[in-house]
């Protein structure tokens, strides 16, 4: 027969001392809100440190800030420093002219043959005359640091003005994407079943069909303004790959025990989705927001370049104007028509990409280096 064993306080064998037990229980003095705030600030500081560890993230952030500064400065310049008649990015015109002497054979600068002069100026000129022809696009000079475009507008002003459009477009696309993708991902993960299948099939479709030809055709059927394009990009990318990624993230949250606990405690579906799932998915969506902006900037520039956008001025449009008038394929001499605009698109898109990659290391702990 076994003896009953009574549960007693642990007593150490002889020769050993036990540590003292804590008296009473732990007591919290701070309010919940203050604790949350403190944790939030701490988390932000830690995230910033992680982000800053990665130099390329800082480079990306720096470039973004630089461009933002440019966008803010431009209206000031237009107001106070520059003469709008000349420097306005869309309607400005600088009546720079060149003096050309008409000769039989071109032997030096500022000379032109009769045939060329008749073509460029008027048909009634004669050899030996000096005529003035407009000098557009003009090379960079003291008055026009980056020169002018074929329509006589200042390139630098155009460059700065387009920054605004780029940011606006990026913002619209990003917000729409985050909103859509988070909702779609969370709903699909939480409800599962046929809702999940339907949404994921749709996401597959969006992922499959390449964006550019679709947008080209949409551009043909409808007029593409900047806000419309932003919404379109947001919708198309929000329903696509991002939704799939966010859905797996939401799924990993759904199976966590605290969701079951919330359900048992009586939480409605809506409550669980908004209070538990979405907050855990949101950091990842902010990450993808960065990549959406990258994509949006590049897409708008491509569509403007192809002449399909209804926008007043953008970097892509700058290249389009130069290209459609043949200045870009006649040689490499008109470099200021191509290099600055393309560089701007590349830099800003790259900056968001790099910042996004650095953010990736903050949000996705698996990628952190030891």
């Amino acid at each position: 027969m076994t003896e009953r064993v009574d549960l007693q306080e642990p007593v150490a064998p002889p020769g050993i001392e036990l540590p003292p037990a804590p008296a009473g229980g732990p007591v919290i003095h701070e309010s919940l809100l203050r604790i949350r705030l403190r944790l939030f600030r701490k988390a932000m500081r830690r995230n910033w440190r992680l982000f800053a560890r990665n130099k390329i993230g800082l480079v990306g952030l720096g470039i973004i800030l630089a461009f933002a500064l440019v966008a803010l400065i431009h209206p000031l310049l237009m107001d106070r420093v520059w003469d709008p008649a000349v420097y306005h990015p869309v309607t400005g015109y600088d009546a720079v002219v060149r003096e050309i002497t008409i000769v039989d054979e071109v032997t030096g600068d500022n000379q032109m043959t009769l045939a060329d002069a008749q073509r460029n100026a008027n048909p009634f000129v004669k050899v030996g005359e000096t005529i003035s022809i407009p000098n557009q696009p003009a090379q960079p000079s003291r008055t026009h640091w980056l020169g002018t475009d074929p329509l006589g507008r200042d390139i630098l002003s155009q460059l700065m003005y387009s920054t605004r459009a780029a940011f606006a477009l990026g913002a619209i696309a990003a917000i729409v994407t985050v909103f859509l993708a988070t909702t779609v991902g969370s709903v699909a993960a939480y409800y599962g079943g046929w809702i999940d299948s339907l949404l994921m099939r749709f996401a597959d479709l969006v992922l499959l069909v390449p964006l550019i030809p679709v947008l080209i055709v949409v551009g043909a059927l409808f007029t593409l303004t900047l806000p419309l394009l932003g919404v379109l990009i947001g919708v198309l990318s929000g329903f696509g790959g991002v939704a799939i990624v966010l859905k797996s993230q939401a799924l990993s949250v759904t199976v966590k025990p605290f969701v079951d606990a919330a359900r048992v405690a009586g939480g409605s579906n809506r409550h669980i989705i908004f209070r538990h799932i979405i907050p855990n998915v949101l950091p990842l969506s902010f990450l993808y927001m960065m990549f959406t902006v990258t994509e949006a900037i590049a897409l708008e520039a491509t569509l403007s370049f192809l002449g399909l956008m209804n926008v007043q001025m953008s970097w892509g449009l700058m290249i389009n104007v130069a290209h459609s008038q043949g200045y870009l394929l006649s040689g490499t001499s008109y470099w200021w028509l191509l290099i600055p605009a393309g560089m701007a698109v590349t830099l800003l898109a790259a900056a968001f990409f790099l910042a996004g990659r650095a953010m990736d290391e903050v949000v996705n702990p698996r990628l952190r280096r030891r």
Binding site: P10, P13, I16
Partner: protein, 347 residues
């Protein structure tokens, strides 16, 4: 290099005279972003052919680091400060990488922690085992010869030889573990290191595998180093045991001796913190505190913050390794104060 002849024939059992493995004053540290971690300090032990040694200790005590060092598979940020690892007289730490490769698997092989994932998911299991054999067995076996040998290995560990043509994901957890053991045996090593080989398995499979390991080791006269945090398991399988704490071996001796009469306070508390179903009813002794942060280890004896016997001396001076009789070694200033618990109570 192993010859094909001595495939699965038995070797002389028990201890042979010349030591197989000698570790002298092995000291390692890791250079991390937060600082330098002193992970292994002055670890020394000797292993003879056919002997089985157990290394026991909490997570982070350095046992895996030692195991990795034996195969020179240490992490990139690990550095050897001093020490030698002699296999049959050759210092492994001084070899070039190419030379070390010839020793890996053919002289020392390893069964890793979480060996489930030790298989390449896109290759058949048989191909992966043959890969090792083709590399180390000289003269090389023919396709038929290696097939025969693998089937033999699989029957030893208790897996259906037909599974050799399957992929790892088609194996169950326990089968994968057994297959890993088979692969570890494939080149007839002199020493097998088993690092927590049964941690992720259920108790019944664990028991089976342990028994198998013991049997294989006895039958083929291999030396074995068994690493675990589970003392019960170590007790079953090993002849000699080394208790590690915070990077040092604090107690060393025959398994029976250390179990029945632990002399280091850590070992004592460890062994007496688990109740025994069959043993005498006695009061439990909990181990207070946590393992130390090896970025900034305690001065003197590394166990002193948690030790009920600690004195001023323990804070200041690190105790040397003392022989307390019959090859039973302890690193403690106050080992004589550690009580001995027998059937009848405290001695």
């Amino acid at each position: 290099m192993q010859t094909a002849e001595s495939s699965m024939s038995t070797r002389p059992q028990g201890r042979s005279d010349a030591p197989l493995l000698e570790v002298d004053d092995l000291t390692m540290e890791y250079h991390t972003e937060s600082g330098t971690v002193s992970a292994v300090v002055d670890v020394s032990f000797t292993l003879h052919g056919g002997e089985s040694l157990g290394l026991v200790g909490e997570s982070g005590c350095g046992k895996t680091s030692v195991a990795m060092a034996l195969l020179r598979l240490q992490a990139d940020n690990a550095h050897f400060l001093k020490g030698e690892i002699r296999l049959n007289g050759n210092d492994l730490l001084s070899l070039s990488e190419n030379e070390m490769r010839t020793h890996r698997w053919s002289d020392i092989s390893m069964v890793f922690q979480g060996a489930m994932n030790a298989w390449n998911p896109v290759q058949r299991v048989g191909d992966q085992i043959r890969e090792a054999m083709d590399l180390h067995i000289d003269p090389p076996l023919t396709k038929a010869g290696s097939r025969e040998r693998m089937e033999e290995l699989f029957s030893i560990v208790g897996v259906d030889p037909k599974m050799l043509d399957r992929y790892p994901h088609e194996f169950s957890g326990g089968m994968r573990q057994r297959a890993i053991i088979a692969m570890a045996l494939s080149c007839n090593p002199q020493l097998i290191i088993a690092d927590e080989p049964t941690t992720a398995l259920d108790v019944i499979v664990q028991d089976q595998i342990l028994k198998q390991l013991k049997r294989i080791q006895r039958e083929f006269g291999m030396a074995m180093i068994y690493i675990s945090h589970d003392i019960a398991v170590i007790a079953e399988v090993t002849d000699t045991i080394g208790v590690m704490y915070a990077g040092r071996i604090v107690e060393f001796g025959s398994t029976r001796e250390v179990f029945e009469r632990p002399k280091h306070p850590y070992a004592y508390l460890l062994l007496n913190s688990a109740p025994s179903i069959t043993g005498p009813r006695r009061k439990l002794a909990p181990l207070k505190g946590e393992p130390p942060n090896l970025l900034n280890p305690p001065t003197g004896c590394r166990f002193h913050p948690r030790c009920p016997f600690a004195t001023e001396k323990c804070v200041v001076e690190s105790p040397p390794l003392e022989d307390v009789g019959a090859g039973h070694l302890v690193e403690c200033w106050h080992w004589d104060q550690v009580p001995v618990i027998t059937e009848k109570g405290v001695a």
